[in-house]
Subunit: 441 residues, 2 copies
């Protein structure tokens, strides 16, 4: 499971009794899944012993070169280690890799990340026509339409309002869409599912600003428009605007970055990514939705029989195992941690189950606290790989009781013309050499 | 409160009834503090109206230059806006600003941040002799001493163990130490209190690794040593190691950065920052503490009468208002949000109170959810500034019932020779021009 190849450089040694405790692990499902109590403080204590390559009886304590060399530089704004240079976002498809004019995107390396927070430098991004270079002092947010008082806010004016923070995921409606294709695309966690990220966002509750402008009772929708060259615009139900929508100014503590909407974006937790309109410049209150390009020809679900599911905003529950995943080979039989992310636009993750035998048997994974509404939730499952073929799957249930569907069930419901909102179970096949591949199972 | 100066560039306009709702705000303490219910969804709705410079009746919706110019570039690893170039960490004192050899540090710009998460590029850093450039494949963590099986772990071996994530603050024991000086230092939030940050850390529970090595019942302490050229080493009680200590590998989702301990650091939540030993290379279990330099001549509290409080590990509860704070001028009378951070090494923040009249009267602030144990907690307080002099203070109470002391009370207890663990109340004076300064009150 190393991303640097074989790290087992220590000479083979007698590991003595290190292995002996492994009999304590309780097998809870097929293929070697172990009880999640190994993650609990007391349980883990008695049940450790992940004897693995790279663990060795300590003989000496060498002093490496870097301990003898007192040099180094601080920086006003830091960067990752040079040894992590391969942990990068990757462009979508064949687009000119980094030029963002026209529709494009860049996927988060979810296979290399841990926990629930996506660092800002690795948050996924989608643009529809470039990244505008906005002067924050000149930018204005205008609220108008069916209001008592059309208002224009500078960034400084917004900054005096009561703020609120929340950890929430943003996911592109097209994320995971390749799973509707007839045969399994040979992708990995990043290329198949990397259009989702999670951050702590801080800004002004939209309900507060709408109260400031005075909402005409006839207003049932609002149009949110971006200041980018494609003028991305989406119709948002007024009920969502009054519920948990936010004009976000900060992402993980610092100002939102240009490609994520600097200096401000709309945040509609749990809704399609593009509805979290970046570079937000106007909110126009209306009686009806506006039928913009981005809610007609894009981001609507084309069903069988010529039907279209339009205005399906909420992203249903999804989960994916990110370690192991394609490109990250197993390093010999033994104990591993299966690690993955789960989320739901409907609220909190209630539970995640994992299967190592292609869905024949399931066992419940441990969830990392805090489990937050509409946020990525990290799940973990101990697994003793016997060195034989296995098919790994995860299945989330959210607090509404919704259960992540199989691929067959999702396609039976929607057909294969639509690739939006694809949230079916992903299967990773492990072969006897320890390679991992995307399969349909 | 603008950090870009006067942003009120719109022509003065009739704001109509925008001001009229402000009478709904309930004053709850002296100097114009308002009830925190303004932050609640329903309450905020009825009680908005922060009429302020920069808010104007919207007349036109101009199309700015950046909307006409479809260009921009993605990057594999992103960066903040060029307009945020002044949001930087700042060096301590007169040290060669960025060269890290010898003891040095760099402070987080806490005045410019929001929420609870510190982005990795702005996390504070302290080094004792440079930042080692560690090859993660060659690095080993050795656990030895009073154990049944001395063991050596590669990074890859550690990565197979069950992991755990938690959001926790790290704070230098010397943070805020200037407040013991006889006269108030003319600093700001960053220079006085910027040696604290908060991140989501992920790694392997130390209890699991100690179980793997087998703890000799005689072991009551362990020595944690860094691989940096100063070999920072600290004695940790075995009880803490078995409780919530972690070998952290990830910070806010990505690998820990070099200056924060790449590829691994010890995390002892709520304890002095230096005990979260970076670049961790050995844990040696012992019967007694080792009396290293960093627990004798450094990081012990020199009290009056020649006494020393050694092995005081836990950081007591502290809070500080970061907005407004020195360097961030007020922009005319009216409604503002007071925003700050609070934390405690003992557990969760129970409440934060704010005073606008130098401690004569107090009112309870709103806390941003989730309130997590040993994590930064964001507090917010609505305030109507009348344009006259005011003294802003905050006071945290943690879940143990401990209340942040006044400066006089802290000095009465410890004297003024010691500057470690300084957690007294900070006072910011606002004058009639809207300037903010550090004072003793």
């Amino acid at each position: 499971m190393s991303k640097r190849g074989d790290l087992d450089k220590l000479p083979a040694q007698d590991l003595g009794s290190v292995n002996t405790m492994s009999g304590d692990h309780e097998v809870v499902a097929g293929g070697g899944l172990l009880h999640r109590r190994i993650f609990l403080q007391g349980g883990g204590l008695a049940a450790a012993a992940f004897a693995a390559p790279g663990i060795a009886r300590a003989e000496t304590l060498d002093v490496p070169a870097w301990t003898k060399n007192p040099e180094g530089y601080f920086s006003g704004y830091g960067a990752p280690s040079r040894f992590e240079a391969d942990v990068q976002r990757g462009p979508i498809g064949d687009q000119n890799p980094l030029y963002a004019s026209g529709p494009g995107g860049i996927r988060a390396p979810i296979h290399a990340l841990e926990g629930m927070i996506t660092p800002n430098g690795l948050h996924f991004e989608i643009t529809h026509n470039g990244i505008p270079d906005i002067d924050p002092d000149a930018h204005r947010l205008v609220i108008h339409g069916l209001v008592e008082r059309p208002l224009s806010f500078s960034l400084d004016a917004l900054s005096r309002y009561p703020m609120t923070s929340r950890v929430t995921f943003v996911e592109c409606a097209g994320n995971s869409g390749a799973l509707v294709r007839p045969t399994a695309v040979p992708g990995n966690a990043q290329t198949l599912h990397g259009l989702v990220s999670c951050a702590e966002w801080t800004g002004v509750s939209l309900a507060v600003l709408l109260a400031e402008a005075g909402v005409d009772p006839k207003a049932k929708w609002l149009l949110a428009e971006a200041a980018d060259p494609s003028s991305v615009s989406r119709s948002i139900p007024i009920a969502k605007a009054m519920d948990d929508a936010m004009i976000a100014l900060y992402q993980n503590g610092e100002r939102i970055r240009p490609s994520n909407g600097y200096p401000m974006r709309l945040l509609v937790p749990g809704y399609q990514g593009n509805m979290n309109v970046k570079w937000l410049r106007q909110l126009k209150l209306t009686e009806a939705p506006m039928q913009t390009r981005y809610e007609t020809s894009r981001y609507s679900l084309l069903l069988d029989g010529g039907r279209v599911a339009q205005y399906k905003f909420q992203l249903d529950a999804k989960s994916v195992i990110v370690r192991p995943s394609p490109g990250m080979g197993m390093n010999g039989p033994g104990l591993y941690e299966i690690s993955g992310i789960a989320w739901s636009g409907a609220g909190k993750v209630r539970k995640v189950e994992v299967s190592a035998d292609g869905g024949q048997s399931w066992a419940e994974a441990a969830l990392s606290e805090p489990v937050l509404s509409k946020a990525l939730t990290r799940f973990r499952m101990p697994w003793r790989w016997d060195g034989g073929p296995a098919v790994l799957q995860s299945r989330v249930t959210d607090e509404s009781g919704y259960v992540q569907p199989t691929r067959d069930a999702l396609i039976a419901e929607r057909g294969q013309k639509n690739f939006y909102h694809c949230n079916c179970i992903t299967s990773w096949a492990v072969d006897a050499e320890g390679s991992v591949a995307h399969v349909y199972a």
